[in-house]
């Protein structure tokens, strides 16, 4: 028999290790009521109900299909309803190689999204052009739209995509309610040529 090196002291499965309770925001808890800041409540509500728009172009799109499937279920984190209309979605997930001919199309999709909107670049090709350093591939979607989270990998494992979505959830939870009206945000959009 082969000598076993791993898992020689297996731990029993303990349900307490598999469940994580969500954190209650700071506030005053009373009998039948809970008083907290509006931004905390709004952040909590927004982060657990993100509606993603999968802009899946190539291989990373297949990994996203695996992420949405039952084994790695992204719907656990509130992204149950994926929409394909940018007017109804919060998170633009760009997964796959974007060619230079596709850049304006991606920009149009981004422009049609309503505030607040977030963008996640999944995979090496969306983040930086990936291995396709050629005349026809856009070297990163941040040349046309502002990106919030980059998920590296070629393709990234479903756990990595879920990690990217969790980081987006952190950003969503901690975002100030006034951020989209500030001058810095307007300056950021102007740097991409978006009014």
């Amino acid at each position: 028999m082969r000598p076993v090196r791993f898992n020689i002291n297996p731990k029993e499965a303990n349900i307490a290790n598999s469940i994580m309770m969500g954190e209650l925001p700071d506030g005053h808890l009373g009998d039948g009521f809970f008083a907290t800041k509006l931004s905390d409540v709004v952040g909590l509500a927004r982060k657990n109900s993100i509606w993603p728009l999968p802009f899946a172009t190539s291989c990373c799109g297949i990994e996203f299909m695996a992420t949405m499937a039952s084994h790695y279920d992204l719907a656990r984190f509130g992204s149950e309803r994926v929409g394909f209309s940018p007017r109804q979605c919060d998170l633009l997930m760009v997964m796959g190689t974007i060619a230079k001919k596709m850049g304006p199309v991606l920009r149009q999709v981004y422009l049609q999204m309503a505030e607040p909107r977030w963008v996640i670049a999944v995979g090496a090709c969306a983040s930086s052009g990936g291995i396709f350093d050629t005349y026809s591939v856009l070297q990163g979607i941040d040349q046309v739209i502002p990106v919030d989270v980059y998920v590296p990998g070629c393709p990234p494992r479903p756990e990595a995509i879920i990690d990217g979505v969790l980081r987006i959830q952190d950003l969503v939870q901690n975002e100030s309610l006034r951020r989209r009206n500030t001058e810095q945000y307007a300056a950021l959009l102007n740097s991409y040529g978006i009014e």
Partner: protein, 172 residues
Amino acid sequence: MALTNEIVKQKLSDKFGDQLTNWEEPYGMLTFTAPKELNLKVLQFLYDDETLKFQFLTDLCAVHYPERKGEEIAMVYTVHNLADNLRIRFKVYTDAEKTEVYTVSALYEAANWMERETYDFYGVHFIGHPNLKRIMNVDEMNYFPQRKEYPLEDQTRIDKDDEMFGRGGSIS
């Protein structure tokens, strides 16, 4: 009797004589070269002839040979006889500055987009093509990417580490 390379070669030589040159059979596939004015005539003959009947255009592409001065761009037509299952290759050569070849899209519908792709990547101008414009690259591109003088990489990147790519750097 079944169509073979010898029968094809005999019939072509009877019709066109020694205008067709450079007969080869790499891996069993008959290949020959013609002057570029004859490309449509040869393909029309291959299409119409009763025994030859090469009525399926498999592929149409261009190759850039920078070392052949005066005839750098080669157009390669691959036609197939579906009844007898025989495929032949036919090449014409043209100049790099004045790349003009007659279109075959009147004979084969498939050649329409394939010639647009060849124009897009090699700059071959097809005389008589109904809609010769770029098909796969960005419309504003002003050069022909697959010619050998242009590099593959995107030239707008500023953050590439030359050492990692084997160019210059501190090692070589």
